[in-house]
Amino acid sequence: MIKTKIFFLIFTLFFSNTFARDYIVVQSTTSTANTGLLDLLSEEFFLDTGIEVRAVAVGTGTAIANARKGDGDVLMVHSKVDELKFVQDGFGIERYDLMYNDFVIVGPNNDPAQIKNKKNILEVMIILSSPDYKFISRDDYSGTHKKELSLWQESGISIPTDSSYIKSGSGMASTINIANEMQSYVLTDRGTWIAFQNKNNLEILFENDKSLFNPYGIIVVSPKKFPYVEYEKSNIFVEWLLKGRGNNLINNYTIEGQKLFFTYN
């Protein structure tokens, strides 16, 4: 008798959260999570609709890989080429432009590489590829890492292989932490940078180049591919973000008076 009771108790404790599915899983990026935007949107969306948003924050590459396995209802990332490929391969119905900000180059304020007054980002990348200056790469197939790779390619130089090119393999904010310790340059999205709390003597050294545009897309995972996707609830979430109150929330989200993300309307 006691044995059955104990078994039942453990069983309920184990399964307590898995029976009903009144939530959607959003595969998203560390930049939206580290800034606190994702938590805010989840809470407000729940208040408006009663649908819970469970947001998983990983790099864009991991998020897309997870969504391709069917582990998510909505994909919210920033690597347009990969997003379009995701849709093309039949994993998503359609990609919508959700919001944008831009990338910046952050580094120690004494700016040893003197990139502050350079005119375009390609010039900056060529300077930073020199073994004299440390540069930290995310190296995790995140949206930011993909952007960095495309910048190397555009500037026509191969990715540095010497020891001044450091691969962190961590999330965006963790990588800025490392840049801080090593006093090196790093490419980051502006949102994460504004929200980052441990800036010390790092500062933005290069910004406002057209190539540094950083668009975020949103895609509902195709129910044709994975029948258990919460398609309707996910669409309500996407609508809410594109046209509803979510759009205003993104637009009005500030940290220390600075806007982090911009929507298109």
Binding site: I10, L13, F14, F15, S16, N17, T18, R21, V25, T30, A33, N34, D39, S42, R54, A55, V56, A57, N66, K69, G70, D71, S170, G171, A173, S174, I176, N177, A195, F196, Q197, N198, K199, F226, Y228
Partner: protein
């Protein structure tokens, strides 16, 4: 900056997940520990060695294995376990079971031979011997529980992969520490770490209290 309701939530999630995984692992460890320690069978030595080596399984690796199994495209995908506390329980179970079972096998292998000869001459059954092995030396089992729980509650890699660090659902203490540290809030990270250690300290005191009760 530090939202107390969120910290409280994270503590509850940490305790819930780690208690259940420890209880699971403990009951199964006693069962298998007793079987392996008292029975003679082929490959016994190899099984014990393999269990011993699994005590050093990297949590991230355990997390990945569980992820592949419970992912939507994995064999148990239909159970919808990914990104739930249940997934974290399974992952922690895999990490702490080898540790607990190895400790228990060690203890029973040492105690059982003398105890058996003595007790069988009194007419005791196998069941009685098992019962005595468990009740006689409570301390060893309590220590095993403590070690298992400590490893489960302090673990981050596996719980993060299969739990996803989802706010209100699977963001336990270690996930919250990692997130706050990543945001650059290093002091908050350290504070949360101190809270986690304090909780473990209370549990450790409680267990030691029972131990000295003998």
């Amino acid at each position: 900056m530090l939202d107390t309701s969120k910290v409280f939530e994270a503590i509850i999630i940490s305790l819930h997940v780690s208690f259940v995984s420890t209880l699971f692992a403990f009951s199964i460890s006693i069962f298998f520990g007793y079987l392996i320690a008292t029975k003679k069978f082929i490959l016994k030595r190899y099984i014990v060695s393999i269990l011993g080596s699994l005590t050093s399984i990297p949590p991230v690796c355990a997390g990945l294995i569980v992820y592949l199994i419970i992912s939507r495209s994995g064999p148990l995908g239909w159970m919808e376990l990914l990104y739930t506390p249940s997934a974290m329980i399974i992952a922690q179970f895999i990490i702490i079971f080898p540790i607990m079972v190895t400790l228990i096998i060690n203890y029973i292998e040492r105690e059982y031979p003398q105890l058996r000869d003595e007790l069988i001459s009194y007419g005791a059954s196998q069941k009685d011997i098992l019962f005595l092995l468990v009740t006689n030396q409570k301390g060893i089992y309590l220590t095993t529980l403590l070690i298992g729980f400590g490893r489960a509650v302090s673990e981050y890699g596996a719980a993060a992969i299969v739990g996803g660090s989802i706010d209100h659902v699977t963001r336990n203490m270690t996930a919250m520490i990692a997130l706050e540290t990543a945001k650059g809030n290093i002091l908050i990270g350290v504070t949360l770490g101190a809270i986690l250690i304090s909780i473990s300290l209370i549990i450790s005191f409680g267990i030691n209290y029972f131990k000295n009760d003998d």
